[in-house]
């Protein structure tokens, strides 16, 4: 099952390191990076799905 954003227990060994959870600048930078990653993954998935999608569209 996919781990939901707010309920995920992150019990890695490394979680003692200083992640700036409250720093607005760090969060802003993270959000920007995450946005680019999400964009990339969507486009990658679209590329992979394209042949299948086009067939489905033709059948509409």
């Amino acid at each position: 099952m996919e781990c939901l954003n707010d309920g995920c227990p992150k019990t890695h060994e490394e979680d003692i390191m200083d992640i700036p959870l409250d720093d607005p600048e760090a969060n802003k930078a993270a959000a920007k990076i995450q946005a680019s990653f999400r964009g990339h993954m969507t486009r990658k998935k679209m590329k992979e799905d394209k042949p299948r999608e086009e067939k489905r569209q033709e059948q509409k």
């Binding site: 781990c3 707010d6 890695h12 490394e14 959000a31 990653f37 964009g39 486009r43 569209q57 509409k60």
Partner: protein, 192 residues
């Protein structure tokens, strides 16, 4: 009888000016940003571009009503080469509730100015932005971040990613030491 303005028991004599011509109501937006006015956005896409966008838009229409669900809009924009944050998408959609996100549908003509607004955003991330953003986590200053560390950052900061999203993203990116050269990583991300 103390003439207190306690409008609980007494019938509303001095009702708040509901129908009276009140001066411009104070926007009681404390936390929420003011709603975006899309009517000022001029759609500048060429007819060819609009045709491409319409095609992509159509791919997402699973119902056949020439509309897409609000919660698909982020992905359509990403498919069209944009990288909006989820927050930015919610903003152009008019800060919909979760129910609206799941239930409301949007037609193409309404989508276009939203897309234009995102395209026009002067704060869009560049290669340098992303590299510098990741450099913050380069503990040793050698151009690499530990995959494990990046996973934690992606899952706890900003618009947290799920484990599944992170796994998909990181697939094949870590070297044998579990490190990631972040410049190469960003190049890879931006190549699609």
């Amino acid at each position: 009888m103390a003439p207190k303005k306690d409008a609980k028991a007494a019938p509303a004599k001095k009702a708040e000016p509901a129908k009276a011509a009140a001066p411009a109501p104070e926007p009681e937006v404390v936390a929420a940003p003011p709603p975006l006015d899309l009517s000022t956005v001029k759609v500048e896409f060429t007819p060819d571009q609009q045709e491409d966008y319409k095609e992509a838009f159509g791919l997402f229409d699973r119902v056949g009503d020439a509309k897409v669900a609000y919660n698909q809009v982020a992905d359509i924009m990403r498919a069209l080469g944009q990288n909006p944050t989820n927050k930015e998408v919610r903003k152009v959609l008019g800060n919909p509730s979760d129910e609206d996100m799941a239930g409301k549908r949007l037609e193409f003509e309404a989508f276009l100015p939203m897309l234009q607004h995102i395209v026009n955003d002067p704060n869009k991330g560049t290669f340098d932005d992303y590299v510098e953003g990741l450099r913050v986590f380069d503990k040793e200053g050698n151009g690499t971040v530990m995959g494990a560390e990046l996973r934690i950052v992606l899952g706890t900061l900003g618009e947290k990613m799920t484990e599944a999203e992170i796994d998909a993203l990181m697939q094949g990116q870590e070297d044998e030491n579990g490190s990631i050269n972040f410049e190469a990583f960003v190049k890879h991300i931006m190549s699609i």
